[in-house]
Symmetry: C2
Subunit: 196 residues, 2 copies
Amino acid sequence: MYPKTLQQLIESFKMLPGVGQKTAERYALTMLESNIEDLNEFASNLMNIKLNIKTCKVCHNLTETEICDICADNTRDQNTICVVSSAKEVFSIEKTQEYHGVYHVLDGLISTKKGIMPDQLNIESLEKRLSQESKEVILALNATVEGEMTSLYLAKRLEDRVDVTRLAFGLPIGGHLDYADDMTLIKAFEGRNKIK
Amino acid sequence: MYPKTLQQLIESFKMLPGVGQKTAERYALTMLESNIEDLNEFASNLMNIKLNIKTCKVCHNLTETEICDICADNTRDQNTICVVSSAKEVFSIEKTQEYHGVYHVLDGLISTKKGIMPDQLNIESLEKRLSQESKEVILALNATVEGEMTSLYLAKRLEDRVDVTRLAFGLPIGGHLDYADDMTLIKAFEGRNKIK
């Protein structure tokens, strides 16, 4: 058996997604070789996130302030709202540097399987953000059954007040036709465009 | 960009072996969903390892006491010493519950590539442990060029004072003959035994 302190650290690492005994052991033994400053910083970073990170009062994105940087940014188009299921996706879209509107984080997707109903998601606050000036709500949800269900529900609920669009389905860039599944191929055919 | 505190935690996770940006993000976001008690425990476990874990004065294994549990255990055969390159391997061998001697951790292997010379390893302390009563030194080192070099060096250096053996080479249990590489097959032929 490993010494008790090391065993406890291994157990902590096993909290991480996809980390089993072997990987946790490897992580813990690597930490043992790190210098004390790095370890203390790691530890304080762990303790700080719960204290410092909140959700934005407007869009429910992760932030250290009341209102997140994106919602507070007046150079962004505040009348185009991109709806995502979790804060993680905000960062994925931001990385592309192509989207200049704002976001709304639902914190989940409607799921009959997991029993997640629309009233458990941040939909009411999304509705409250809509105004006469609202131009477009872009649904950027997973191309899964749950994402689809949520998209259809939101489209129905909001279509009278604002234009509702969704991301395009199709072949991923770099994807090979013979590896694409049937549904992707069907959607790619349906969504075909004229070559400009 | 992620909020600063979260970004710092992501950087900390990137210290772990084999963890890149994506995995670190996933780990950090999972931590954000953990409860504060788990996070504080994780943090204190990280800080404690450097304070609590030392190397055994006798065998250089990891321990919380001056002398590790294995060296201090009088029911174990103190005259059979199994030589391993790192503390991790002690735990691997202990898990089998088949070995009842003691260990000696070299803390590395001789390597011309990495410039690791015999005097940088715990070899002198191994020699000092040998006495008239010593029965056997079992070399349990990797079946790599470096492991091999270290085994040959140790065998030469110790053979006048004690019996030196090494682990058997051969097919791994569950291994298929057609997947075995040439060297493994040659060693398996060389080491063939009568079926009892």
